[in-house]
Symmetry: C2
Subunit: 222 residues, 2 copies
């Protein structure tokens, strides 16, 4: 049996605590930014305000992020990180449109309510003053729509649609989710059910048109 360096050796412990310390500082910066962003838009807060809120020196900021925009991109990743996977699971049993709709809306409601500060930031910066953030957010939404447009082929009535039509329809569904998420953030908590019900009904009305859509009769073909 080869001898192994015990994990409790001094240098290992120091390395671990350095790593943990770095992760904690980074987390403190993210939390401080989110706190400021709950009331302000991204282009109105400064690096100095974030470090002051986090209790860290401005120079220490650069050990974690190249600049404020990189911190913003991390917030975009955090917002969408688990949501995409959760939405795939929500619609993974395509026996009925209605079930997939209800589960998807409930997934969005729970996720947004659990991460209100993150999604307020997303709603705000989707059309905000920082181009890199706008693009990152729209890329994430496009990825959700693209995954959905693939999964939609599992529904017999949509299976034969050309990709462009599936993308258009997926885009409608995703935009309804985005509007619902934004409405949740601007409304008191006791309106959550009302907003969720409205979203489910809107999505159901959209799907009612699906069997009557004639994919070949596009405007482009005219």
């Amino acid at each position: 049996v080869p001898s192994r360096r015990p994990p409790s050796s001094r240098s290992t412990r120091e390395a671990i605590s350095r790593r943990e310390g770095k992760a904690l500082t980074r987390q403190a910066l993210v939390r401080a930014a989110l706190k400021l962003l709950s009331r302000n838009s991204f282009d109105s807060i400064s690096l100095r305000e974030v470090t002051r809120e986090a209790g860290i020196s401005p120079t220490a900021f650069y050990r974690h992020f190249d600049d404020m925009e990189e911190l913003g991109l991390v917030l975009v990743e955090e917002s969408f990180g688990s949501l995409r996977e959760m939405l795939r699971v929500a619609r993974s049993d395509p026996t009925m449109f209605g079930d997939a709709i209800n589960r998807s809306v409930e997934t969005v409601v729970i996720h947004v309510r659990d991460h209100e500060d993150l999604f307020r930031f997303i709603a705000r910066e989707r059309y905000g003053g920082v181009r890199r953030l706008r693009r990152a957010i729209n890329r994430e939404l496009q990825a959700i729509a693209d995954e959905l447009s693939v999964d939609l082929t599992a529904f017999p009535v949509i299976g034969g649609w050309p990709l462009e039509d599936r993308r258009m329809f997926a885009g409608m569904l995703v935009e309804t989710m985005v509007t619902t998420a934004a409405a949740l953030l601007d409304a008191p908590r006791d309106q959550t059910d009302e907003i969720a019900t409205r979203a489910k009904r809107q999505l159901r009305l959209m799907t009612l048109g699906v069997p009557h859509w004639k994919p070949q009769h596009t405007d482009r073909a005219r």
Copy 2:
């Protein structure tokens, strides 16, 4: 014939030029704010930056607006002022859904392209950091949706729907317009037709579900 004071008298001319001067200064402040807002969100620009851009002293600002928020509310009014009326005209001939859809989308496209700075401000501040602006913008959008939900009664298939269902459907149509407007602002000009066509097709797919919607079977009634 009673004698009238000639319009070219000195005091009248002075009063007119004072009024014109005031209107011009106000207009200069609005233009300066819009220019700054084309790249920044409302809560990141200051009164001082606006007056500097307009070439006016900060104290002169207060002869025109109580504060920056009041200037923001004027921008909201300017954005929606003619749009509501234009949209009513666009759907005033309810012979066909399709026509009303095409005319409404074209109205939005032209209006947004004519006032890009105003609508970039609207897209940004709808979920922005200033509560009074958020509320003013959502009031305007709600007014458009309310007017639409009344006009929808002219379509026989919707005429019998309860108000809540018409409101839900009108909300879907208005949100599609909002998303379209925001997409136009973020895309190069040569994608205008593509974005407009997509909006028309999405709206048409939504209306295909209408004859199959059963208004009495709401979630609430269950």
